[in-house]
Symmetry: C2
Subunit: 329 residues, 2 copies
Amino acid sequence: MRITALAGGVGGARFLRGLRDDLAADPTYGPQGPDPAEITVVVNTADDITLFGLRVCPDLDSVMYTLGGGIDEDRGWGRGSESFVVKEELAAYGAEPQWFGLGDRDLATHIVRTRMLDQGYPLSAVTEALCSRWQPGVRLLPMSDDRVETHVTIGSGEDRRAVHFQEWWVRLRAAEPASAIAPVGIEDARPAPGVLEAIERAQVILLPPSNPVVSIGPVVAVPGVRDALLGAPAPVVGVSPIIGTAPVHGMADACLAALGLPTSAEVVARLYEPFLDGWLVAEQDAGTVVAPSITLRARPLLMSSAEATRALARAAFDLALELAPEVAT
Amino acid sequence: MRITALAGGVGGARFLRGLRDDLAADPTYGPQGPDPAEITVVVNTADDITLFGLRVCPDLDSVMYTLGGGIDEDRGWGRGSESFVVKEELAAYGAEPQWFGLGDRDLATHIVRTRMLDQGYPLSAVTEALCSRWQPGVRLLPMSDDRVETHVTIGSGEDRRAVHFQEWWVRLRAAEPASAIAPVGIEDARPAPGVLEAIERAQVILLPPSNPVVSIGPVVAVPGVRDALLGAPAPVVGVSPIIGTAPVHGMADACLAALGLPTSAEVVARLYEPFLDGWLVAEQDAGTVVAPSITLRARPLLMSSAEATRALARAAFDLALELAPEVAT
């Protein structure tokens, strides 16, 4: 069973861990079953950033750490049992920026990654090498080996300026209204090796509850990916990252506002509409209006426990099987 | 009072701290005195190494940390209250080398240095920037802004090979006999800005008890430095790093052996002979034979306490004043 997911950071990572674990325990799709799940995750790299000369890939790392058992479960990003000695020392030198939470354990990942990139390895090869330690149980692909960095336009008049997405997200907590969000470099980015094939050959395609503007959006915007989704034989099932008028996690509302859009499950479904076949929303959003081509289901969306997360992931997977049984078998 | 010293790591750093502290408390050479000491230290960079893409300058850092109050006093290198989280994580990735003790606090220095070097700043400017935090109370100059790396030839026959000095020193503990020690790049290295002037304009020149082969040797071998020492009006006073037939600290014996030389204060004096005016040896080495142009003094050489270290540094300084009172006043 070939499953491909497009994902961002925290929400995507938790959903995918639930999916992996639920299918691993399934008599059909488990490792000993007749149709073992092969999960490929195409991860957003548009919020990557170079800090202190080190290449940081927040979404790739969140997925890798979460599925590899190295995540800080409370924060949802970075390493568990983390210390921040290097960060304190960098601050003592007055080195900027000081607003990014660069932990000591996490730093080793960035050092290994940066060295490999400097040696000429593409990010996809670096990711594979890092995963040889973490064994996430899924195949992790960056959306592209080419550099894409999201810039956010904030302020107005003379004070209008563009900052790196991470500065807006982490330092400003997305509290300063954004008038534009642009993944710089996306037009020239090529899908990483295996990305288009993973979409074209998938039997199930899932969109976890990731940020539609700064996570799933850039992945879809990599030239070739949207067309691959439109042409893919597999059903595409998404999970709303919005309950009512608020994001389940993070600050997707601030991102949608930058596009002039309100925050609702309906709005996100419309962003995905051309390639979306199934849409899971919260029970309170059961009345969400979607295009007739999209099958709506209401399910508990809160990934408040391992069980709830597995149930949600399974609901998305089952909806896909239901929508296109001929592809999935 | 303009004092210039050439130095390596641990021994040089401790000696210089003693010198700085003793002169700071002196009514003549203290900060409020009529002739305040201005100490310039030209530091060996021939044992620098790039590890994990980060530029490490062990001797510069030992001097900077020691004089800046950040050194690990027991080890004599690296930061006090150090942790090794990043190193453990790098090892978990299987990243090599694992034999170098890269501490978390120390790492921040290398990250700041590497970023500045990548931005185009020469090592001398980087060193000045790092010292703005540490305030060592002396002017630290790398011997050169150009890259020099010492390679050590070990093994014999088919197994003969060159390794980086740090690999021989740290991983092999200099236990494997060396047949050659070569500071690669030294012929093309230019003295860093200020190095030649510091020697030419000095009133006192000191050679702390640093390794003559891999610390003081490379500094002197930077084109222009030897001639500056030969032509300098200031007296040159050195402190033997050897007591009897053993190094006071470190493994200078293994380095001298690589040159086919025995280990003694006499041998080291001969290496410095063309420019050496005064030579401090241990009391047991009072019978050391030196050239008639060199004034020999026997003093306790062990820097076993702050007081002993200050006394040794002061003895070297006083010998210089005695040898060339016309230059020193």
